[in-house]
Symmetry: C2
Subunit: 342 residues, 2 copies
């Protein structure tokens, strides 16, 4: 098999255990025909687990890794063990060209540090970024950076916009994604210097496959007005987690309200299909998969608590990026942008 269609999976990462990882990969294999897998981790345990998944077994190779990165481990410690851990070996398979992408549900900080160290930043990119899909009233949207870079300058924001747009073309199947910078007002003079400077630069890039829409404020993230939201990793991480926390908060209040009287309990039971619809729309497993953009290779971070469906979603994302050769796309877009800006 060629590396073109092969995905390396850190089978040991994640809070839900090997069985859930394998079930997720098996599910993704059925959906993305022709994709093959390198399953990295404890060889005996993986082989035993594969007994339940004959289809996956036929499309996989097992790569033994003696160690695991724990979820509490500091990235600085984990990188010293890169060569012996399932996470580090999965990434290394991408570096060696044996796999086209790596997927892990393990420790985010360690995954980011190992990926940067092993795959290195793409030529022309100052810093890689962490991008994810968020639900909105319409389709999903891409948001980056979500915490890879606590501090960013103008150049970083512009590169994130170009990379995020390329990613949205693949992940959301859009021709010309609408891109906006996260800011604290919609008027031109609002925000910090770096955000204003990045906006000026992006307004000038008229030939890129993206439509620059200026600024977006936090309260409009879920309205479906834009497809890509660009920000520094500090405010992006805070926006993402605040959105998660608020959705949970509203859900908790709703639960509390529905159980406040017999009448409301009855109403809840009757309207259950409706609240299930809501739950499904917001379920992180249906939006799973954060991506490190700007590296010489594709790495997908699946949520630590992802279930079988969530793991399959993340693997599907990796398969799409491999299919569209995302790394090459980003590289071409950046070259075009530089040429246009020059």
């Amino acid at each position: 098999m060629t590396s073109g269609s092969r995905i390396a999976v850190d089978a040991m990462g994640g809070d839900e255990g090997l069985a859930v990882m394998l079930a997720g990969v098996a599910r993704a294999r059925r959906r993305y025909e022709g994709t093959e897998f390198l399953l990295v981790g404890d060889e005996d345990a993986i082989r035993a687990g594969l007994d339940n998944h004959p289809g996956l077994s036929a499309a996989s190779e097992v790569v033994h890794a003696p160690e695991i990165v724990s979820s509490e481990e500091k990235p600085s410690q984990a990188i010293r063990r890169a060569k012996t851990t399932s996470m580090g070996i999965a990434i290394d398979l991408v570096k060696q060209g044996r796999a086209a992408a790596a997927v892990s549900s393990g420790n985010t900080g360690a995954l980011m540090a190992m990926s940067k160290l092993s795959l290195r930043t793409m030529a022309g990119i100052d810093r890689p970024a962490l991008a994810a899909l968020l639900p909105s009233l319409e389709t999903d949207l891409v948001m980056l950076d979500l915490g890879a870079n606590a501090e960013c300058d103008m150049r970083n924001l512009v590169e994130f916009a170009v990379m995020g747009a390329a990613y949205a073309r693949t992940a959301l199947d859009l021709e010309k994604p609408r891109v906006a910078l996260l800011n604290i007002g919609s008027e031109e003079q609002k925000g910090t210097d770096k955000v204003r400077d990045a906006a000026a630069k992006l307004r000038g890039a008229v030939h890129l496959p993206l439509a620059f829409k200026g600024y977006i404020e936090g309260d409009r993230l879920s309205r479906g007005d834009v497809d890509v939201v660009v920000c520094d990793g500090f405010s992006g991480n805070i926006a993402l987690k605040t959105a998660e926390g608020t959705a949970r908060f509203v859900g908790d209040l709703l639960k509390r309200a529905f159980s406040s009287s017999l009448r409301s309990k009855v109403g809840f039971l009757i309207s259950r299909p409706a609240t299930e619809l809501l739950r499904s729309h917001l379920d992180p497993n249906n939006h799973n998969g954060a991506v490190f953009l700007g590296l010489n290779g594709l790495v997908v971070k699946s949520h630590g608590g992802a279930n079988e469906v969530g793991v399959a979603t993340a693997i599907g994302l990796a398969a799409k990026m491999v299919r569209d050769d995302l790394t090459r796309r980003i590289s071409e877009d950046l070259q075009n942008f530089e040429a246009e800006a020059a």
Copy 2:
């Protein structure tokens, strides 16, 4: 009447018009006995409106202002008309000592600019901050800065913590508020230099009337773990607006889900008291009133779209701050902190 119990109200600001402002002030007057008001705006219109509120009429003085600051007006333009607008005159009444606090539902940027220019920053404070109350699973919490300063340094964050704690003691009736810095991780080495430095400084302040709790991430804002959340104005504004937007988003999804079938519509009608409870918990009118902290005088920003209840909430907040002499409290806390840190 003495300035001690008097509140100046910009009667013309806000999207809901003079009648709603007056009804809100009248409602607050009934709740905060003994408070008197200076109602600033078009004299004839205010006098006509007061016919419906004899109790308020007896406790008020009307101060004529020929002009109004519009909601779209740039702060830089509005400050040139400070002396003739209802907003500017309300603030000036505080400066003159004729009122102890000013309340406006008008243009936030203009209110901030005029307040800074007229009242000036308190001695010992580098920059004022905008603080507001947010709902959580338990009681409300105070968050600052929410957009007055897009960029902040370590000193600003520390001062915000001291001011926010003083404010929480008044607004939430707490003796020793739990204070945390908004960050993108809970470990000590996470985030930006300024956040880490501010944490180190606050850990040393053991005699202040606050309990420093380290870092808080966006997903735990509504959990009720802390009473005061401190951040720069850029990420604070983004967190606040993302929380608002997400709550609205979940509400919209819920509405869509509830109207998706006859069954769910019936369930909704039965469980209406429950969803009303939720709506009331999240209604911004029940948490209305952002405060500019760090000025030589108290200024409260009421939400532009606040209804009668919302206006009364904001005025009540002003009345409490006046009662507790918040400006003096902040000044004393800062002096104690400086003395301790020295």
